[in-house]
């Protein structure tokens, strides 16, 4: 589905990531981990087309440089960190915006019944349907993150990119979000590529893990093959086992990935 071959990218002519090569198949989730400034967000921006890159990034065999913006958005949706709300919309209006590509050319018409139904479905999936008329500037960070998730789902992308999506969430909502995304990818055959600082969540979500160190691939592969205390200690330049919570230790002791069974269908 997504393949990167020797990708370099950066800002104002200076590369921040170097020679990144990886493949993400349908239904597979990838987490990108590493210390601050190692190039995680830069890699996501390159994949989403927000910044130019060298090398090749292909989705379903087509180079993203040859794809139209609209075609690209049908393939990749981005759930970014919560930013300032300049003008408030209702939850429903915000999620409906995710149908933009599907509603194009309907400026002077009402959204189609399909668009409305899909918007309702996404709102129900994230548990916000009952408060859909509430203004988004009245929501907590966690609720707002779920609104943006519903909007990204409404876009119907094949791949969702996440940039530290759990920043504003409490523990329960962090776990819920990760469960939800795992179910979405497993049931629907989609993929999630996420940048995360929390190794527990990264392990819970991902099939594969990419560890970045100073913009280069320090390790890449199945989560349980890649993550080891020694590697993390080296990459993060600290004794990370002191800060590691039980799930990672537990996971390290297991022969199988630490993943619960998917529970929910989105569509």
């Amino acid at each position: 589905m997504l393949s990167l071959q020797n990708v370099n990218a950066g800002y104002k002519g200076t590369d921040v990531i170097f020679n990144i090569s990886l493949k993400v198949k349908e239904g597979e989730n990838l987490c990108i981990i590493g210390p601050n400034g190692c190039g995680k967000t830069t890699l996501l921006k390159a994949i989403s087309g927000l910044i130019p890159h060298k090398g090749s990034i292909k989705i379903d065999g087509i180079d993203i440089n040859e794809m139209k913006r609209a075609d690209m958005a049908r393939k990749i949706g981005v759930l970014s960190q919560i930013s300032t709300i300049y003008f408030s919309y209702s939850i429903y209006e915000t999620v409906l915006l995710g149908r933009y590509l599907h509603m194009k050319g309907r400026t002077f018409k009402e959204p189609s019944s399909k668009d409305k139904e899909y918007t309702d479905k996404c709102l129900k999936a994230v548990g916000l349907y009952s408060i859909k008329d509430k203004q988004i500037n009245e929501l907590s960070g966690g609720q707002l993150q779920r609104v943006y998730l519903a909007r990204t789902l409404a876009q119907e992308p094949d791949i969702i990119l996440l940039d530290e999506p759990t920043n504003h969430l409490d523990l329960k909502h962090q776990a819920d979000l990760i469960d939800f995304l795992r179910d979405w990818s497993k049931y629907e055959g989609h993929s999630v590529i996420g940048v995360m600082h929390d190794l527990n969540l990264a392990i819970k979500l991902s099939d594969k893990v990419l560890v970045l160190d100073k913009g280069r691939m320090a390790a890449y592969g199945n989560a349980h093959e890649v993550i080891s205390s020694n590697l993390l200690n080296k990459v993060y330049d600290m004794n990370i086992t002191e800060f590691m919570v039980d799930s990672l230790k537990l996971w390290e002791s297991l022969d199988m990935p630490y993943h619960p069974e998917p529970k929910r269908r989105i569509s």
């Binding site: 087309g49 609209a70 981005v78 408030s88 915006l97 995710g98």
Partner: protein, 341 residues
């Protein structure tokens, strides 16, 4: 209250504002007479006996109606332009003036006033056309320069460059004004805006410009909604951000430029109307754009009515009235929203 009822009420409010604007003045004319006069002129319907041969007929048709409609068009145009600029630049205080439309138009108008130059086939429209061209040239130069400095055309770059260009052009205007003291009163008056002595020719030229501009802008309503969440988000949702931004900045500048060119610089309505509309109708541009047109237009009609009647038979510059009413009103709308009053 449901949105459609609010829209109906807004249309009624606009109608009342226009009728009041047309009806009040040195001679008071009731709405029924105004409608009768319009019916007579447009559809050749018979005039009521008590209107025939009166001064009201001429005053309404030749003076007040074109003046009031022009005020409505100008107010609507600058309000729509303001709502676009606020959304595109993600700044509640942004307007076309931020990018130097008024400075450019004022400089263009000042050069025509000072030199007395007339383009033969434009005649009396030399002044507004030159104002429009200079206003647009200033905005396009500012945006082009911003694009050269920052290829991604970041909002902050646009605002900053716009302010620099605006200040620079204002300095040139000050120089022109200083060197042509004989025209000082005329230049100052133009910069304060007025609908005085405007006739149907102004309305006939401005109406299609505003109509086309507003329809084209309305066509971008979804893109504007999405772009208020940030340009990176909009990009990843499939919006061609660069193209949309250029289109909207150009359309918005052209709307304000056209309006300012005809009647001079009139501030505050482009700031106030979008805020009032968002407060009443929410932020969806599908509603914000047409309602900004209605509210901006109505507000301008009321301000012009105040400007020409408060010290009648003399007239105040309408720009001063919009600022006098607008500044405290804007402070109330903006801060009450922030404090949740």
């Amino acid at each position: 209250m449901k949105v459609k009822y609010k829209i109906i009420l807004s249309i009624v409010f606009s109608f009342i504002a226009i009728m009041t604007g047309v009806g009040l003045g040195s001679i008071k004319v009731p709405p029924s007479h105004i409608i009768n006069i319009i019916g007579n002129k447009v559809f050749s319907l018979p005039l009521q006996a008590d209107i025939q041969g009166t001064a009201a007929l001429s005053i309404i048709w030749n003076l007040r109606l074109p003046r009031t409609l022009l005020a409505f068009l100008v107010g609507g145009a600058v309000a729509v332009s303001g709502s676009v600029m606020q959304s595109v630049l993600k700044n509640p205080l942004a307007s076309s003036y931020t990018l130097g439309v008024s400075s450019g138009a004022s400089l263009g108008a000042a050069l025509i006033i000072v030199t007395g130059f007339t383009i033969p086939f434009l005649g009396v429209f030399t002044l507004p056309v030159t104002g429009l061209v200079f206003g647009l040239a200033t905005v396009f130069s500012a945006v082009k320069f911003a694009a050269m400095m920052d290829k991604s055309l970041e909002t902050n770059t646009i605002i900053l460059v716009g302010m620099v260009f605006s200040l620079f052009v204002n300095a040139m205007l000050t120089l022109v004004t200083a060197m042509a003291r004989d025209h000082l009163a005329q230049l100052t008056y133009w910069q304060m805006g007025s609908f005085s002595l405007k006739d149907w020719s102004n309305v006939i030229i401005l109406f299609p410009l505003v109509l086309i501009g507003v329809i084209l802008i309305q066509n971008f309503s979804k893109e504007m909604d999405i772009m208020t969440f940030g340009e990176d988000q909009a990009f990843t949702m499939g919006v061609d951000v660069h193209k949309v931004k250029w289109s909207l900045l150009s359309l918005s500048a052209a709307l304000t430029g056209s309006a300012v060119a005809f009647v001079g610089v009139i501030g505050f309505i482009d700031l106030i109307a979008p805020h009032v509309v968002r407060k009443i109708f929410g932020s969806s541009h599908k509603i914000v754009i047409p309602m900004s047109m209605l509210f901006g237009g109505s507000f301008m009609v009321i301000c012009d009515l105040v400007a020409r009647t408060i010290i009648s038979p003399s007239e105040l510059p309408v720009g001063a009235i919009t600022a006098l009413i607008g500044a405290p009103f804007f402070a109330y709308v903006y801060f009450s929203r922030r404090k949740g009053l």
